[in-house]
C-alpha cells in the first residue's frame, strides 16, 4: 500500500479502506469489533486477538474467538451492542457485511474499516495492511512473508503439473459455485485446481446440466460440519442427474475445512489441504511440510472420528 495514504492529524490517521471509503482511525487502536469470521481470524493471526472486544455469533476460530462478546450475525448485527463496547475501530468485510450497518455505525461516529480481498494476494496484502493500521506492522510483515513462503512451496511442488478441473460446491440447493473474481477461485488456482464455472457473479447459481456438460474431475466442499457433508454427499449420489457426473461415479469428492472459504490467513491452510488432496504424490516425499496446517487436520480428524465419514471420502490434507 502506498504510504501517501497515511496522513496524520493529531491522534487519528486518515486512510482509504479497501472499498475506497475514507476512514479516520484513532491511534492507537485498543478496542476492535470484528464483523466477520474472516476478520476475527486475521486479527488473531496478527496477534491482536486480545484487543478484539466483540465479534459475530459465527466467529469460531480460533477457539478464543467464541468467548468474545457477540454482537449478532454479520448481516444484521446489533448496532447498539457494538456501540456499547466503545470500539476504537470496527473492521468488516465487503464480502458478507451490509453497507447499511457501516452507515449506521458511521452515523454514530464509530470508524469502520472494510476489507475486500478478491485474490489470494490481496488477502495477504490486506492482512499486512491491517497489521500496519493496528500497530502490529512487524507481525503483519512476518505473517505475510510466512504465508508467501508456504504458497511458494505449494507452487514449487505443483510446477509443471496440469491443473485438475473441479466444481466448488458452495451451496447444494440451489447449486451455487464460485465466480472468477473471488478469492476462492484464485485459491483453487493456487492449489492446482481449475474451476469449471466461469462467471462474473461472485456466487453464481449453476445449472447442473451445465456441470454434466463440463464434467469436472473433482467435486469440492468446504465445510467443518462432517454430518452435514455426509448427508449432502449421500443425497447428491441419489440424484439421477448427478450420477451422470464422472466425478460422482468415481467418488472424487474432496472435503476441505472451512479455512478454504474465509479470506483470512487460514486460506493458505485450505490451499495446502486441497493441493495435497489433488496431488498426493507431489507431497508424498516430505512429512515436515504437513506441520503447517496441523491444527486443521487435527480438528478435522476429531470431527470425523466422532461421526465416521464413509470410506470413499477423500479428506483433504489429513492423510
Amino acid at each position: 500500500m502506498p504510504r501517501e495514504n497515511l496522513t496524520s492529524s493529531s491522534s487519528r490517521i486518515e486512510v482509504k479502506d479497501e472499498t475506497g471509503r475514507t476512514v479516520r482511525i484513532p491511534q492507537p487502536v485498543l478496542r476492535i469489533v470484528s464483523l466477520a469470521p474472516s476478520v476475527t481470524e486475521t486479527l488473531f493471526a496478527l496477534g491482536v486477538g486480545d484487543r478484539v472486544v466483540g465479534d459475530t455469533d459465527f466467529c469460531d476460530y480460533p477457539p478464543e474467538a467464541k468467548r468474545k462478546t457477540h454482537i449478532g450475525g454479520p448481516l444484521s448485527p446489533s448496532i447498539e451492542a457494538i456501540a456499547a463496547l466503545h470500539p476504537d475501530l470496527v473492521v468488516g468485510t465487503r464480502g458478507i457485511n451490509r453497507l447499511d450497518s457501516v452507515h449506521a455505525l458511521e452515523q454514530l461516529g464509530i470508524p469502520v474499516y472494510a476489507t475486500d480481498a478478491q485474490t489470494v494476494e490481496q488477502v495477504l496484502t490486506s492482512t499486512e495492511r491491517l497489521g500496519e493500521l493496528l500497530g502490529a506492522a512487524e507481525a503483519g510483515r512476518m505473517l505475510k512473508a510466512n504465508l508467501r513462503r508456504r504458497l511458494g512451496e505449494v507452487d514449487r511442488r505443483l510446477a509443471g503439473l496440469t491443473p485438475k478441473s473441479v466444481l466448488m460446491i458452495v451451496w447444494l440447493d440451489p447449486l451455487m459455485s464460485v465466480g472468477r473474481d473471488t478469492f476462492l477461485d484464485d485459491a483453487l488456482r493456487r492449489a492446482g485446481a481449475h474451476s469449471v464455472i466461469d462467471s462474473p457473479q461472485d456466487w453464481p447459481t449453476v445449472d447442473i446440466e451445465q456441470v454434466v456438460h463440463l464434467q469436472p474431475d473433482y467435486l469440492i466442499i468446504s465445510n467443518d460440519n462432517a454430518e452435514q457433508v455426509q448427508r449432502e454427499l449421500i443425497q447428491l449420489q441419489e440424484r439421477p442427474v448427478w450420477r451422470r457426473l464422472e466425478a460422482v461415479r468415481n467418488r472424487h469428492f474432496i472435503v476441505l475445512s472451512e479455512a478454504m472459504s474465509h479470506p483470512s490467513p487460514r486460506l493458505v491452510d485450505g490451499i495446502e489441504q486441497l493441493a495435497r488432496a489433488l496431488y498426493p504424490s507431489a507431497f508424498a516425499a516430505e512429512a515436515a511440510f504437513a506441520g503447517s496446517s496441523a491444527w486443521n487436520c487435527q480438528r478435522y480428524a476429531m470431527a470425523s472420528s466422532s461421526q465416521p465419514l464413509s470410506p470413499f471420502l477423500q479428506i483433504g490434507g489429513c492423510r
Binding site: 457477540h70 446489533s78 448496532i79 447498539e80 458478507i96 451490509r98 453497507l99 449506521a104 454514530l108
Partner: protein, 339 residues
C-alpha cells in the same frame, strides 16, 4: 352507530396515545444492551428537566443516539403506512387494499436496487432513489388508471396490480442476474427494516411530509364517508368526487413512498391496522384516520422492539415480525367480532 363528537375523537386518540407512550417506554428499555427502568427513568428525567450534563455517556449513546431515533422512525413509518392503507381502502373501495397494492413499494425497491448498483457508497442515495422510484410508479399508475379523464377505482386497482407485478419481476430479474455484493442488503429492504440510522434532518423531512399528506387525507374524511356508499350517491350529495379521489390517491401514495424509501416494504401494518381500528372505533373516517395513525405507530414500534430482542444481539427485519404477528392478531379480532 354513535354520533361522532370531537370529544370522542380526542378521547380515542388520548387512550391510544397513552398506549403508544407505554410501548415507547418499553421499547426504550428493551434491547441488546440492558438498562433497568430505574436507570431509564432517572436519565429521562435529567433529559427532560434540562440537565443533560448528568446523563451517562452510555445512556446518551444507546438511548438518545440509537434507540430513540429508531423509535421515532418507527412511529412515523407506522403512522404513514396505516393512514395510507386506510386511504387506499376507501379510494379503491376494497378491504384488501394496502399501501403496496398499486406498486409503490415495488417501484421504490427498483429505485433502491438501481441506486445500490450505480452508486453504492453514497449513504442517502438509496432512500432518494427509492422515493424517485415510488414517485415514478405513482405517476405511471395514475395515467394508466384513468378512465374518461378521471380515476376509476377498478381500472386503478388493475393497473396498479399489474404494474406492481411487472416491477417485482424486474426486481427478481436484476437480483438473479446482477447478484452484486451491494445487493445483499436488498433482501432486508424487501422485508422492511428499521435498522438504518437516518440523519436527523431526514427524520424532520419525513415528519413534515407525513403531517402534510395525512392532513390532506383528513380534510377529505367526511367526503370519504359518503364516497364509501357509492360514487354516484356521493356526487348527488355534492361531493367533488374527482378532487377527493385525486387528493387521496396522491397523499396516500406519497405517504407510502416516504415510508418505504426509509424502511423498505414493511408488510401487513398498512392492511391490518385500519381494519383493527374499524373494529375498535367504527368506520367513520374522521375518527379512523387519526386512530389508524396512532395504531400504526403502536404496531410498528411493538414489532420492531420484538425484532430487536427475540434473537438479540442479531436483529430480525421488522417486516418479518409484522408478518408473523400481524396475521394471528387480525384473525383473533375478526373472530371475536363475529362471536
Amino acid at each position: 352507530m354513535k354520533p361522532l363528537t370531537l370529544r370522542r375523537v380526542l378521547w380515542s386518540c388520548a387512550v391510544l396515545s397513552a398506549v403508544l407512550l407505554g410501548i415507547v417506554l418499553l421499547a426504550l428499555r428493551l434491547g441488546a444492551v440492558p438498562f433497568s427502568f430505574g436507570d431509564l427513568g432517572q436519565n429521562l428525567w435529567w433529559l427532560v428537566s434540562g440537565r443533560p450534563g448528568k446523563i451517562s455517556t452510555d445512556f446518551r449513546l444507546i438511548m438518545v443516539d440509537i434507540r430513540l431515533p429508531r423509535i421515532l422512525l418507527g412511529i412515523v413509518v407506522g403512522a404513514a403506512l396505516s393512514v395510507a392503507g386506510a386511504g387506499f381502502q376507501a379510494l379503491l373501495r376494497n378491504p384488501l387494499a394496502d399501501p403496496y397494492v398499486l406498486g409503490v413499494s415495488s417501484g421504490a425497491a427498483l429505485g433502491a436496487i438501481l441506486a445500490l448498483l450505480a452508486v453504492p457508497a453514497i449513504p442517502l442515495m438509496t432512500p432518494a432513489a427509492a422515493f424517485l422510484g415510488a414517485a415514478a410508479t405513482i405517476a405511471a399508475v395514475y395515467f394508466l388508471g384513468r378512465r374518461q379523464g378521471q380515476l376509476d377505482s377498478g381500472t386503478l386497482l388493475l393497473a396498479g396490480i399489474v404494474t406492481a407485478s411487472f416491477l417485482s419481476a424486474m426486481i427478481m430479474f436484476l437480483m438473479t442476474t446482477l447478484a452484486s455484493r451491494e445487493l445483499r442488503g436488498i433482501s432486508f429492504w424487501l422485508m422492511g427494516d428499521l435498522s438504518t440510522t437516518l440523519p436527523r434532518g431526514l427524520l424532520w423531512v419525513l415528519i413534515v411530509g407525513f403531517l402534510c399528506a395525512a392532513g390532506a387525507i383528513l380534510t377529505t374524511a367526511s367526503d370519504l364517508n359518503v364516497l364509501l356508499a357509492g360514487e354516484r350517491e356521493a356526487m348527488h350529495l355534492g361531493v367533488d368526487v374527482t378532487r377527493v379521489k385525486l387528493v387521496v390517491y396522491i397523499s396516500a401514495s406519497v405517504l407510502t413512498g416516504l415510508a418505504v424509501s426509509v424502511s423498505g416494504a414493511i408488510g401487513y401494518v398498512g392492511l391490518l391496522v385500519p381494519h383493527v381500528m374499524r373494529m375498535l372505533f367504527g368506520s367513520d373516517y374522521r375518527l379512523l384516520i387519526p386512530t389508524s395513525a396512532i395504531g400504526g405507530a403502536i404496531a410498528i414500534v411493538l414489532a420492531d422492539t420484538l425484532a430487536r430482542t427475540v434473537v438479540a444481539p442479531t436483529e430480525l427485519p421488522v417486516g418479518a415480525m409484522t408478518a408473523m404477528a400481524g396475521a394471528p392478531v387480525f384473525i383473533y379480532l375478526l373472530r371475536r367480532r363475529l362471536a
